[in-house]
């Protein structure tokens, strides 16, 4: 949805900053730009019509309908070949990937709980650190820092 190339717009603006240039083809460029501008309006109107929407929809639908038997046959042949070579099928790899994601979520939940425990312990530390003031707090802070450092992938990229 956001792929629209606006490079041309930027370049036009920046080109103005660069100052005028001597160009023997300026007249040709002016004609070309006028033509493209009028063509652009025509094409924008054309793609906005119901007919265009129906035509592209029909083309896509035909492509999908015609290609389905070939794709299914290919999938079936590929599945058999993979079985022969004792290799996992796409569906099996997908199932594995889904399990990985579930595991990641479980780990993230555990990480969240661990953060909360460390935070609550840090918060309660001053009231129970009567014997060695500050010592418990320091170790808790170190534990949290270590925990965060472990979580952090440390992949700083430039």
């Amino acid at each position: 949805m956001c792929e629209l190339n606006l490079g041309g717009v930027n370049m036009t603006a920046e080109h103005v900053d660069a100052g005028p240039q001597i160009d023997p083809f300026e007249a040709f460029r002016g004609m070309r730009d006028k033509y493209l501008e009028s063509m652009s309006k025509v094409m924008i109107d054309a793609v906005n019509t119901e007919e265009y929407a129906q035509a592209t929809g029909a083309m896509l639908n035909n492509y999908l309908t015609l290609s389905t038997p070939f794709r299914e046959a290919l999938d079936k042949a590929m599945l058999m070949a993979l079985e022969q070579f004792s290799l996992p099928s796409r569906q099996q790899v997908i199932a594995l990937a889904e399990r990985f994601t579930n595991l990641e979520m479980r780990l993230d939940d555990i990480d969240s709980k661990l953060d909360r425990i460390l935070e609550s312990q840090s918060a309660s530390q001053p009231s129970v650190a009567g014997v060695t003031p500050g010592a418990g707090q320091s170790s808790m802070s170190e534990a949290k820092t270590l925990h965060q450092a472990n979580n952090r992938k440390g992949q700083r990229s430039k």
Partner: protein, 355 residues
């Protein structure tokens, strides 16, 4: 100068231009270069924390989370050195985080807005809060990212979201006449279930074609003519190369989310009607209470202004503002006027609400 010398010079100019053109078409520019740390991952999603350049005491207290669309790289927010929204915001003293959704694989074809909003965003936000040490945060959503952040803000109003910035937000689909996408994806013309049954995810090439076909002459012809005209201007060439690198980096959109976008949003306008359900829970926009800045691109043909305007009358926020910018869907944030118009306005609005 003899005619032979002139002819020789013309040939060398043409040769140089062709060389530059060929380089631009066959290489990728270095985009997304602002230094950052990867602090969280889940499946393909990644949360980045940009390395602060302002001393902690001078920094804004409330961190900013950037959320971009599902079908393009978020590097558009950090396009190139000296012309990067991220770099600008980091330089203005914000603690900036970026949620990159990544590229969905075949195993993600069932992923829906429900998953992004209720599984991924809360976890990423928790990690951001943990790293920043702030219980409050700001969120900026752009394009589909604005849909996700709006739904999140409405469903989790007590999660510490203080400021919500929406950029070119496609939220209201009631004015079907003005929406070319709505015409193309109408159920009379487009069988979304058949497409997704075939491909699983919505292929990036089809999404790319859909976006470019809205202005076919500009995107397929004029764009390259303008490039040719400006090949001797290094600044223009650099800008074009960076934008082209981003534009051509296409990837699929998760099938479940694409289906929702077409059926729930484009065809039935469920969010604005108050009928959108996310994992069984009704999304009530009046529960959204965060301060709201709604940035609208006046020349946006992908998300026309009519899609973004109505949100303010639906939310429960008391501090709201609409900011209209001359420019297109991407140009308002990545175009040459963005550092003079859009970015400073965002900074002024957010800066006053981030301490």
């Amino acid at each position: 100068m003899t005619p032979a010398t002139t002819s020789s010079n013309n040939w060398s100019v043409l040769e140089r231009k062709l060389g530059t053109f060929n380089r631009l078409m066959t290489t990728k520019a270095a985009i997304g270069q602002t230094p950052k740390d990867l602090i969280w991952t889940l499946n393909k999603a990644k949360l980045y924390h940009y390395v602060p350049v302002v001393a902690s005491e001078a920094r804004h207290r409330v961190p900013l989370l950037l959320v971009f669309a599902l079908m393009n790289r978020p590097t558009i927010m950090d396009l190139r050195r000296g012309h990067s929204f991220v770099e600008y915001m980091v330089g203005r003293g914000y603690d900036v985080y970026l949620l990159d959704w990544g590229v969905p694989g075949p195993e993600d074809k069932g992923m829906k807005f429900d998953d992004y909003v209720l599984d991924y965003m809360p976890r990423a936000i928790r990690k951001m809060k943990s790293v920043s040490g702030s219980s409050e945060f700001s969120m900026l959503g752009w394009c589909i990212g604005a849909i996700l952040t709006t739904i999140y803000a409405a469903m989790r109003p007590d999660d510490g979201l203080r400021n919500l910035l929406l950029l070119t937000a496609p939220l209201d689909f009631s004015n079907q006449e003005k929406l070319t996408f709505a015409r193309w994806t109408d159920e009379k013309c487009f069988d979304v279930d058949k497409v997704l049954a075939t491909f699983g995810n919505m292929p990036g090439e089809m999404i790319d074609y859909g976006a470019k076909a809205l202005k076919p002459v500009e995107n397929y012809v004029t764009n390259f003519c303008k490039l040719w005209d400006n090949l001797d201007d290094p600044r223009a060439v650099e800008a074009w190369h960076a934008m082209n690198t981003w534009v051509t980096d296409i990837f699929p959109m998760a099938g479940g989310a694409y289906r929702q976008l077409i059926v729930d949003f484009y065809r039935n306008n469920r969010l604005m009607k108050g009928e959108l359900q996310i994992r069984g829970e009704l999304v009530k926009l009046n529960r959204l209470r965060a301060n709201l800045l709604n940035v609208i691109a006046e020349a946006d043909h992908i998300t026309p202004p009519c899609q973004s305007e109505a949100i303010l009358s639906k939310v429960g926020s008391t501090d709201t503002e609409i900011y209209r910018v001359r420019g297109g869907h991407i140009g308002i944030m990545a175009g040459s006027s963005a550092p003079k118009q859009t970015w400073p306005h965002i900074d002024r609005w957010l800066g006053a609400r981030s301490d």
